[in-house]
Amino acid sequence: MSEARDPGLQAERTSLAWSRTALTASVAALLVTRDGVVSHHTELTVAGLLLLGVAVVTLVAARRRQSSISRAVAGGRSPASRSGVLLLTALVVALGAAVLWSVLA
């Protein structure tokens, strides 16, 4: 399979930005998990592990983003991904809420 033309490496740069973000989210989820283990809050540990799972799914999606962008552009469709953006926003809000809960508990 030949790579689609990607002037300015738009698809690749966007895919890498997703990867960076997913890795950062993994670190945040690991910190939440550690918080749960250290403070003996089982709920927080479970929440941290769940969020880590979502972050890993995001990392897999990040790797696939390059080809999904290339396909959309080649097909003349907009490559904007509302579901991905929503998923990531929800992940960040859940991480922030978990941290707030942990500090206030």
């Binding site: 300015g8 738009q10 698809a11 740069r13 966007t14 930005a17 997703w18 960076r20 973000t21 950062t24 989210a25 670190v27 945040a28 910190l31 939440v32 550690r34 918080d35 250290v38 962008i69 959309a72 552009v73 469709r77 907009s78 490559p79 904007a80 991904s81 509302r82 579901s83 953006v85 929503l86 990531l88 926003t89 960040v92 809000v93 991480l95 922030g96 809420a97 941290v99 707030l100 942990s102 500090v103 206030l104």
Partner: protein
């Protein structure tokens, strides 16, 4: 298509009206908007990580309660930046579809002021000698 719309309703994330309005923008602009969103999300995650690190790894400041207050403040900034990232992405995408001017984001000012407040509080607390 119908199945997809139904799934969207179930998840309460049905496509907003603007998603189909106007014309598809230049794909490079959409992708630039997406990368800007991701940069804001990383900023939000950094705030959240800082909140956890402050609570878990930093020994208590000489002034009681300041560490917890700063930690809460940082976590709230993380939430604000995360929700603001989505809002700014959606408003920019909509503006590009309609050919309207790009929206101004209040996030820059809010988070800059917030960070200055955090820095000043930390500086003051570090200068107060422990009892």
């Amino acid at each position: 298509m119908a199945g997809r719309a139904r799934a969207g309703r179930l998840l309460a994330v049905s496509e907003p009206k603007w998603w189909e309005q106007g014309a598809d923008p230049d794909y490079r602009f959409s992708l630039a908007n997406e990368r800007t969103f991701l940069a804001w999300i990383r900023t939000a995650l950094a705030f959240i990580a800082a909140a956890v690190a402050l609570e878990q790894l930093v020994p208590s400041f000489s002034v009681h309660g300041v560490r917890t207050a700063l930690s809460i403040l940082l976590a709230v900034f993380g939430l604000v930046a995360g929700v603001g990232a989505y809002r700014h992405w959606a408003r920019s995408e909509r503006a590009m579809r309609l050919g309207a001017p790009l929206p101004h984001s209040p996030l820059l000012l809010v988070l800059s002021v917030g960070l200055v407040v955090v820095a000043v509080v930390v500086m003051v607390v570090l200068l107060v000698p422990s009892p």
